[in-house]
C-alpha cells in the first residue's frame, strides 16, 4: 500500500467536463517540472494523469458534468530515488475494482488502452474505493531513473 504524506504540494481540481482536461495537463506539466521529475518522463506521466482523469469523466461520472475530480501531487523519495506521488479522487459511488483492467494489447481494436498506459508508465498504481462509498481513489508513483545505467531491483 502506498502511504500518504502530509499536505499536497500542488493540487488541481476540475468538474467532470472534457474541455477542462487541458487545465489538468497544463498544471501537471509545470508541477512535474517543479517537483523535479526528469524531462523524458514528464510527457508520459502527463498522459497517465490525462487517461486517469478521462476515465473518471467517461466511466465514473458518465453524463454528469458537475462531478468533482481532484488531482494532488507530492514529491517523494524512496531508496535514494526522487519521484512524484499523484493521487486522483472522484466523488462517484465507487466502482467494481476488478473491472478496472487494461486489456491485452495483441487484439487491435479501438479503446481499452487507458489503464494499460497508466500501468505501463507509472511505477506504482493502486486503485481503491474510498470508505463509505465516497468515490474512487487512484494513487500512483513515478520515480526518476538513476542517470547511470543500473539494474532496477
Amino acid at each position: 500500500m502506498i502511504s500518504m504524506p502530509t499536505d499536497p504540494h500542488i493540487e488541481v481540481s476540475i468538474l467532470s467536463r472534457p474541455q477542462y482536461l487541458c487545465v489538468v495537463r497544463a498544471a501537471a506539466r509545470e508541477a512535474l517540472t517543479q517537483l523535479g521529475l526528469y524531462d523524458a518522463e514528464i510527457i508520459k506521466v502527463i498522459t497517465a494523469v490525462d487517461e486517469a482523469v478521462t476515465n473518471v469523466i467517461r466511466h465514473g461520472y458518465g453524463d454528469r458534468e458537475d462531478g468533482p475530480i481532484r488531482v494532488r501531487l507530492w514529491p517523494v523519495e524512496q531508496a535514494g530515488r526522487t519521484g512524484v506521488q499523484i493521487v486522483i479522487e472522484d466523488e462517484t459511488h465507487g466502482v467494481d475494482l476488478s473491472k478496472i483492467e487494461g486489456r491485452p494489447l495483441d487484439e487491435i481494436r479501438p479503446g481499452g488502452l487507458g489503464v494499460h498506459i497508466i500501468r505501463q508508465v507509472m511505477d506504482e498504481v493502486e486503485y481503491t474505493n474510498r470508505p463509505d462509498h465516497k468515490g474512487v481513489c487512484l494513487k500512483m508513483r513515478k520515480y526518476n531513473q538513476p542517470a547511470a545505467p543500473a539494474q532496477t531491483g
Binding site: I108, G111, L113
Partner: protein, 116 residues
C-alpha cells in the same frame, strides 16, 4: 490550448486519395469531433489512400489513438490504405506505449506517406 471547432485544419487531394492535417491537442474533448470528421471524409471521398499528417498535433491521448485505429480498420475492411506521417516524438510515444507503432504504417513525412 485554444478550442477550435474542427480538428482537421486542412485537407489536400493527392493522386489516389487525400491528405488530412488535424491540429492542436487531440484528447477526449476533441477526439469525438475528429472521429465524425474522418467518417464523413471517408464516406464522401472513399479514398484509396488516406494520409493523416500529424505534424500539427502536439498531444494525443488514447481516445485519439482509438479514433485512428477505427479509421484504419474502416480502410482495411475496404482493401484501402491509411498512412500516418510527421509525428512529433511525444505523439509517437503513445503509439509505442500502446504497441501500435508496428500496426500503423508510419512515415517520416508527407512525401514518403504519399508513396508508402
Amino acid at each position: 490550448m485554444e478550442q477550435s471547432d474542427g480538428v482537421i485544419a486542412s485537407t489536400k487531394p493527392i493522386d489516389d486519395g487525400l491528405v488530412v492535417v488535424p491540429d492542436g491537442e487531440i484528447d477526449f474533448s476533441r477526439s469525438p469531433v475528429l472521429r465524425t470528421e474522418l467518417l464523413i471524409l471517408l464516406e464522401n471521398h472513399n479514398p484509396q489512400r488516406l494520409v493523416i499528417d500529424l505534424s500539427q498535433v502536439q498531444y494525443m491521448d488514447s481516445s485519439g489513438v482509438a479514433t485512428l485505429v477505427e479509421a484504419m480498420q474502416f480502410q482495411l475492411k475496404k482493401g484501402k490504405k491509411l498512412v500516418l506521417c510527421s509525428m512529433q516524438p511525444k505523439v509517437l510515444s503513445i503509439f509505442q506505449i500502446a504497441r501500435l507503432d508496428m500496426v500503423f504504417t508510419i512515415c517520416d513525412d508527407a512525401e514518403a506517406a504519399v508513396k508508402a
